[in-house]
Every structure is written in C-alpha cells, then in structure tokens.
Symmetry: C2
Subunit: 408 residues, 2 copies
C-alpha cells in the first residue's frame, strides 16, 4: 500500500483540522503506510516542504486535541496553478515530489479554489498516466460550494454568528437608548453566513431585525427607511450585513465609503468597512447612534464555540475521501447529501471537482423573505440542524488548549 | 423586614447578572420581603419604573439561567446625579419612590461612576436621616476600581481576550505570510484588559508579541521599529493595544487617524479606530499586511465564554452586599481581598464608596516589562487565577439560552 499526502488550503475554519484527523485516521485504518502533510498546501509541496503527520499524531490524545484545534494546522495557502496546457513546469515538480515520497493518495482540504487545484492535478495526472489519486475534502465557512448540501466549517461559523448576535443584541438593548448595531459578517458573494444571523431569533430573543445578503442588490435609501421604521418600534435595532453587499451598479457598499481595496492571488478584493460605512450613513440621516461591529476572523477561528455536528461531519468527509481514493476515484471531492431535515440525516457522496471549482453557490432567492430583510422558514429548516451540539475545547489552566504546531 | 431594590449601571459584563442572582438569593435567605429591580438603574428609579424581581426569578432554573445570561438583565444606564448641595430635586424624587415601596436596602451593581451614585445617595440619606442602606456591588470588565483586588467581570473578559488572542494568532499564522494583526481591546485609561492578552502565552502558543497599555505614553516610531524587529524573526506578528493609548502630548492614538469622537454623559470620549490607524501606519512604513481587529462589545458580553471563578465571585459580592446592608452599613461597597495567589483565596470586605468613585486604578508600572511591550510574571500571577474554570451556557437547540427579558 502506498503513502498518502494531505494539505489544507484557503481560509481556515474551526473544523478544518477535524477533516485532517478524519483523513489520518481512515488512512491508518485502511492500511496506508505513511501520511505526509504539505506545509502550506501546494506551495509547500512545490518546495518539497513536507511534514510527517504520523509523528505529530502519535497518540489518541493528540488526535483528539487536533479535532478541537482551530485554524489550518498544516498551514494554508492561496495558490493558483496555471493550466498545464499553458505551463506544466509546476506540475512536473509536484509529481516528481509526490513520486519520490511514494504517494498514492493526495487529499486536499479546501473550498472552491482548492477544488480547482485538485481538478487540475487530476487532469494532469490522467494526461501523464499517473496512478496517484486526487480527492478533495470540502471546507469553507462560506458554504458556497456547489452540489454538496452544505460544507463543513459552515455549521460552526453559523453557530458562532447566531450566538454572538444574541449576545450583541442583549448588550445593545441594555441601555434602552436608540442605537443601530450593524454587524458585518463574512461572505463576499454568497450570504450563507450572514443568513445564519436569522437563527438567533428564539423564544428568549427577538432576533436580528434586518438582514442584508449579497444575493440582493443593496438599496441604501430603502435600508435607511427600514431602519427608521424599526426604530420607531424599538430603540435598539440589530442588523446583519454581508461584507460583500453591492449596490445596483455593482459597486461594493464598502467601496462607497473608502478608497483602495487590495486584491489577493485569486483576484478577490479585500472587503471591509461595510458596517462602518452604513453606520455613518445612518447617523447622518437618522441621528442617534450607529455601532459597527466586524466579526472579523473570529467567525472562522473560534475553536471555543463549535458545532459538534459540524466537527463530526468534517471528520466524516475526511474519512470518506480516503475510502474514495482507495477505491480508485480521482478528480473527485466528497460532498454531503441530506437525506432529511427532521430527523436530520446526511450521507457522503462524490462529485467531480470540475463541477465545484471556481463556482460560488448562492443562497436561493426563495429562502429570502419578500421584503428582502429576513430569511424564510426553509432556510431555518436547512441551517438549524447544522449548529446542533457542542464540543468544548480542553481547557487547561483556564484557556483552550490546542495541538502545538509541528514547527515548534 | 423591609424590601430591597437592586439596579445595574454602566457597561454590561458577562457576569453582572450573577451579582443580581447573588443579591436576590441572599435577600431571600435573610428574610427581606420583596426585591424590586430598577428598570435601567437610577433613571428607572427616578420614573418609579420598577420591576418585580421575585416574579421573574420564581424558580431555581430561572436563577441558574440568570447566572448564565450576559448583559444587564434589568437594563442599565449612564446617569450622573448632581451633588444634592447643588440641586436636590432628583434626590427628593428618588427617596420618595424608595419610601413608597418600603425599601430598606438599596443595591447598585456598577463601576466607579456607579460608586459615585451610591456615595451621593448615601450622603443625602444621612443628611435627611433616612434609614435606607446604600451598598455598592462592584462590576467592570475594566478592572479599574480602587481598593478591591480585582473586579467581577474582569476575569471573564480577561479569559475571553486571552482565548481569542490564541485563536486569532493561529488564524493569522496559517498562511506563513507577513501580517501584523493589531487587536484593539477595551480600556480607556487602564490597560488591565489589554494586559490579559499576555495570558495567551502557553506551551502551545507563542503568545501576544507586543502589548501596548494606556499607562505608558505611546511612541509611534518605537512601535513601528519593534514590529519590524519582530517581523524579522517571524512573519505573523500579534499585537494587542488598548483603545485608550495616547501619544506623549496627550492625544489618543485613535484621534490621530480620524476627526470627531463623541462623548457620553460622563464626558468619556468614544474611542475606536486605534488598531485601524496603527495598521495603516504599519502598512505605509513597513509594507506587508496589517489586519486590525476590534474586539468590540463581545469582550464584555460573551456569555458563551466566562470564567467560573468570576461568576462565583460576582455572585458572592452580591450576597456580601446584602449582609452588609442588613448589618446597617451604608455608603459602602463590597470589595475583594486576596489572601493568596497559590492556592488562590479571596474574601470580601467593605470600602467606602467615596474612595472608589470616579477614580480609575491603573496597572502598576512594575507589572509592565522594561521594554514596555509585555507583562511581567507578577501580572500573570495576579490574573491567572481569575480566568480559571468554565460555566457553559445552557445550549438549547444549538444556541445559548438566556433568561428572557421581563419586558417580553
């Protein structure tokens, strides 16, 4: 039996390491000799910068710690391979390195950009008749992967967002004074995570009053009117907006307020300042106080507040990837298929990476209410199962303990 | 036995309701007839807007839920009474309302501004020979109250800050690229909470690399040099700064970057944008990426991540306030006295509210290292016991459940 290699790519999630644990455990159980890790994804692989996963996961305790450790344990990257038809030099290096380490199975934990990487590697592998199997393991808090019912990472991020909306809402209401709190949530083109703010409405909390997703062109005047309408009824108004909301002419709302926004390797603009801009507009037009809150990276790294369902599914898709690779599949990614909402049941399946690469799945428009201010019951039915259950960190001397980096 | 009234004032904390639970339970145990709550502190009392605490805490489950519910359950206010020697009209209203409800004991849960309120009411009470006893119950995440060893609310906020520094640090390091993350922590004049970022250094985490407190005049050039020095050794540098850091001429750092900053009823300026300004300077001078993160209100309202030690002490000071009132004390506040660090032992004591009012206790300068970039062991010995233990929320259907507001 050959060796395996596993990498993590793209933005971290609180459960991306549970997928790593899932890959590792299934590999060991199914007789794969050695598991290598890529130090910072394919960037590490290109430099033959690999780590020995067997060595740092040499006890059950460490595997359990890994499951409860947020952010990409192996290190991540945002690196786009050129098509090999244009330039195959990097592919040659990668395959040479893989062959030298007798790799038979390649696992890549990532989002839609990472699926592009797997698709390209599998395609090149077929072209050179390589026996190496390339399988994707889905992760993204954005939940914007096609085909899969939902994506590991989303459940925990959604639970984080809904939880802090309840807490922020309580905080904001405590003075009884007029204040509009605008919470900015990650999601550049798909509003899944912002939509999770709708989960905060429970019998102990009034909920998020107004939700704006990037799926709907943002109308500033209408927004101000809506807030004014809400504030006529209650002093503390709670708003959730996606960082990526755009006005009708296609400009990001955050660009209306400031000037330059840098782009990353995939051409994604850095979006920030949406809440801050909206608060300044609200203060100017309505008076009173606007309080912008950016949830920032905590929504994707809060290992102290995760969904047990999400962690278990993240581990499961890792294991399913190993089974698929051993069965000879390549260029595929594991996806989740929902059998039913209630009782909640899911199973794994496979999809072709090509179908997921570089495509962002949006929130269905009929899951947004007619007013474009809230989510419908269909969304709540979809998302509520994903936030169920907790898996507390191991607290040592008062703080969550994480698996120490292999670099230390 | 007469009735009691209790109010909450100033900024909320995750454990301010544990103090309310402590007051309530001790009052019931010691034969106080009825417990009223002020709706939004003395502002509610002035309008005779009271709530029946007995009614909404009519079961053990509700008391337990209250202990795990963040933000001020009774509603808070920031309201400064004029000295009665200048204008006694509000005092007359307050005492009339108290007498009508047959109040014998007045408890006010708050920080140094609230201690000012208690001192004034007690002083007026003495002047008019009122038998009503006025006792303060300390709370503030800022930990800036004099005399008391530490303040309920601080331990949970410190635990939150240290926890998220670990998580944010892991997130920032995952790409292996150059990035300076500047985390802005609450604290306008006292750096206690920012200092808690030093607790993040453990054997599984390198820790916060650079800490800037308002106790030390901020030197921008030196800061940039220090960051450059750190970044020569490691790509991802983690910085914690107090929102209230000031340059040598007395201007807030956040004022260097922007224009207007509103003030509240106590004349406190709204401080925000410190991290954002510092990141823009770092990017300009050092290149690379700067990522500002404002912990915002979550550091004071994250009921999902509290210190059990803190919750228990918050409850204890509430109970001690009742005992003090029954013993005939007035114009006093409960304080905590530490008997030892290890084993950690504390007891309650009383101090005169005048001594605490309007005074902010700073971090001792010899708890800051010589370089002014980190905390010494003395601080760690002081703060570590305060973050020990957890008290998880009651999770219902995936989210923390809170005691529903009496207004609903």
């Amino acid at each position: 039996m050959k060796n395996a290699i596993v990498g993590q790519s793209g933005g971290p999630t609180p459960v991306i390491n549970a997928s790593l644990a899932g890959v590792f455990q299934a590999a060991k159980q199914h007789g794969i000799d050695k598991v290598y890790g890529m130090n910072h994804g394919v960037m590490g692989l290109l430099k033959d910068d690999l780590v020995d996963v067997d060595q740092f996961l040499d006890s059950d305790l460490k595997i359990e710690l890994l499951r409860r450790t947020p952010s990409s344990f192996l290190g991540s990257c945002r690196y786009k391979l050129k098509p090999y038809t244009e330039d195959d030099s990097e592919y040659k290096i990668i395959f040479k390195n893989l062959e030298e380490h007798e790799i038979g199975y390649f696992f890549y934990i990532g989002g839609n950009d990472s699926m592009d990487t797997i698709a390209k590697l599998a395609s090149y592998g077929a072209y050179v008749h390589s026996p190496i199997r390339f399988i994707g393991v889905p992760k993204t808090i954005d939940n914007d992967l096609a085909i899969t019912d939902h994506c590991p990472g989303y459940g925990s991020a959604a639970k984080y967002v809904a939880t802090v909306m309840k807490e922020i809402g309580r905080d904001a209401a405590c003075y009884g004074t007029k204040v509009v709190t605008v919470v900015e949530v990650m999601g550049r083109n798909a509003g899944w995570l912002t939509a999770a703010s709708a989960l905060a409405r429970r019998d102990d909390f009034e909920g998020t009053d107004l939700i704006a997703l990037p799926e709907i062109p943002f109308d500033l005047d209408r927004f101000v009117d809506k807030v004014a309408e809400l504030q006529a009824k209650k002093p503390a108004v709670l708003v959730a907006v996606s960082e990526g909301i755009k006005v009708a002419d296609g400009r990001y709302v955050c660009e209306l307020g400031s000037s330059s926004h840098a782009s990353d390797a995939f051409g994604h603009k850095a979006l920030t300042g949406t809440a801050s801009y909206l608060c300044s507009v609200l203060q100017e037009r309505l008076g009173g106080r606007g309080r912008p809150i950016e949830l920032s990276v905590l929504q994707r790294c809060a290992g102290h507040l995760t969904s047990r369902t999400d962690i278990e599914e993240a581990e499961m898709v890792g294991g399913a990837a190993v089974l698929a690779a051993i069965a000879g599949k390549t260029g595929k990614t594991v996806v989740l298929r929902r059998i039913s909402d209630n009782p909640y049941q899911v199973t794994t399946d496979l999809a072709t990476c090509d179908e997921l690469a570089n495509y962002e799945k949006k929130v269905p428009l009929d899951w947004i209410n007619e007013d474009n201010t809230d989510m419908t019951q269909a969304f709540l039915d979809y998302a509520t199962p994903l936030i169920q259950g907790e898996l507390a960190p191991f607290y040592v001397n008062g703080l969550p303990y994480h698996l120490g980096s292999f670099k230390e």
